[in-house]
Amino acid sequence: MDQVKKRKKAKKARVIPGFHLTLGIVVTMLSLIVLIPLASVLVHSLGISPKEFFALLWKPNVRNAFFTSIGCSFAAAVCNAVFGLVIAWTLVKYDFPCKKLLDGFIELPFALPTAVAGITLSKLYSENGFFGKGFALLGMKVSYTKVGLVIALVFVGIPFVVRAVQPVLEKLDEQYEEAAYMLGASPVKTFFLVIFPELKPALLTGFGLAFARGIGEYGSVIYISGNSAKDKTQVISYVIMQKLSYIDYAGATAIALVMLVISFILLLFVNIVQARQSARTNLL
């Protein structure tokens, strides 16, 4: 009993200085800049009666925007998971000219402002743009449709997947692969039964982050999507912005609350995946 108490005390006695100072600074700044403004969204949305709240969310354009945002982000996150895995694999496992340069470009979507990405992609895929011309010959329209929306979301999401998978692949012991070969597994079998399970948590993390980013994305999608209510190409961030410019704050906060809940769930999902992953590596 005494020992337990002692240990508790020892834990409490902090050798390194600065605990109270940094705690004070961190909590104050976090509250002022992040928590209080977000809390005021919550307070305002709680002021709306539940009936009104659901009526606001069930309006056709709001409903469609939710479906568009979630559907397109999901499609884009799936594309990113597939291509991201291939790209990460290629950049880690193979050697070829210009590899370093291509690797450096992966983070372009983090560095390029979303509005710039948005107008460029919109122009490239419009009917007289570089890619749009090709698609027009095939009879396909990309800008101002959901396809264009997905392309823009693939652009913003790709670094999340590649950068999540790359370090895990680098650390992967090649002995596993060799052992599988020796035991007679085909390369495909080796990949799906030996390598893929190791990569799964990282891939899910990247997928979750890309998906979350896609749902809230604004700058890079509003130009290419066309924002037509009729074609259901309005994204949810655009609807919030529209409501803000009509000073419909009740509608905007109701949608914002739902989006906050969605992004919180996705963040939780990513954290659980990461916690499980680290628990597993600690066991090994």
């Binding site: 790209i87 509005a115 919030i240 914002a256």
Partner: protein, 283 residues
């Protein structure tokens, strides 16, 4: 053909296939869009390019953008270092929750940030009476929403966890033995920080600052909700939006010309980031 040769051939084919997909994807999705900004911006000739990046509006937007970026980077670096010190050197109750709360701005749509600031400092916000009382008392005309302070605040919000997120893993990997030893030998907090912690986290810190700068320069959604006056409170991305939305061929080219400034900065940021990474690996 033996089994072994077949396998080798298959492996080679997979390799070629993977490299082709990677090169095509990166070229089409990332490199061509980057080049097309520059091509589009020079469509009307170099004279038009220079004229369109030196208009009154673009110059004012550049000023606002740099002001907001510098303030955001300074404040977030200070916060990032404090948060990293707190979260890596001490264990306390609620640490995990605090870490998650710091990461919130990562997963929130920038448009909601704009809305949150309108709800706090705007006419409906609970902070509005405070600002009004302040203005009446001092005879000033301080405004937050639809003014420069709102733009700066929104920029700080969206880049809030960038620095702390980069240095926390670095410091966690280093442990805290050295700091504890230094503290036991009587070094002051600031000396410990300067002599031990700062050199440890140098590369992570620089990388965080770079990322924070990139994001702050390009923030669009959050400031779009909080800034409405072109030529006064518009940042460069907002000015690009205004030019592009005017819809004439000339104004679209001007929008690309203004974008090219940000593209050049983005490329510089990518280069610095790669140099930093290489230095870090060398160490």
């Amino acid at each position: 053909m033996t089994e072994q040769e077949k396998l080798e051939k298959k492996k080679k084919r997979t390799k070629r296939c993977c490299i082709t997909i990677t090169v095509l994807f990166i070229t089409c999705m990332l490199i061509i869009p980057l080049v097309s900004v520059i091509v589009n911006s020079l469509k009307e000739g170099i004279g038009f390019y220079i004229r369109s990046i030196s208009t009154e509006y673009v110059r004012s937007a550049l000023g606002v953008t740099f002001l907001a970026t510098v303030i955001a980077v300074v404040i977030n670096t200070f916060f990032g270092i404090c948060a990293a010190w707190l979260l890596t050197k001490f264990s306390f109750r609620g640490k995990q929750i605090l870490a998650t709360l710091i990461d919130i701005p990562f997963s929130i749509s920038p448009v909601i940030v704009g809305l949150a600031y309108l709800m706090t400092f705007g006419r409906l916000g609970w902070f509005y009476p405070v600002i009004r009382a302040f203005n009446q008392f001092f005879g000033t005309n301080v405004r937050i929403t639809f003014a420069i302070p709102g733009v700066v605040l929104a920029t700080i919000f969206v880049t809030f966890p960038f620095v702390s997120r980069e240095i926390i893993p670095v410091l966690n990997a280093q442990g805290k033995d050295e700091e504890e030893a230094a503290a036991l030998m009587g070094a002051s907090g600031f000396t410990i920080f300067r002599k031990i912690t700062l050199p440890q986290m140098k590369w992570g810190l620089l990388y965080g600052i770079i990322l924070c700068t990139a994001r702050a320069l390009g923030e669009f959604g959050a400031v779009n909700a909080l800034s409405k006056t072109r030529g006064e409170t518009f940042t460069l991305p907002l000015e690009i939006d205004a030019l592009y939305m005017s819809g004439t061929d000339q104004s679209i080219t001007a929008a690309f010309a203004a974008s090219s400034i940000l593209v050049i900065i983005a490329v510089i940021i990518l280069i610095i980031r790669n140099i930093l990474e290489r230095k870090h690996i060398e160490q």
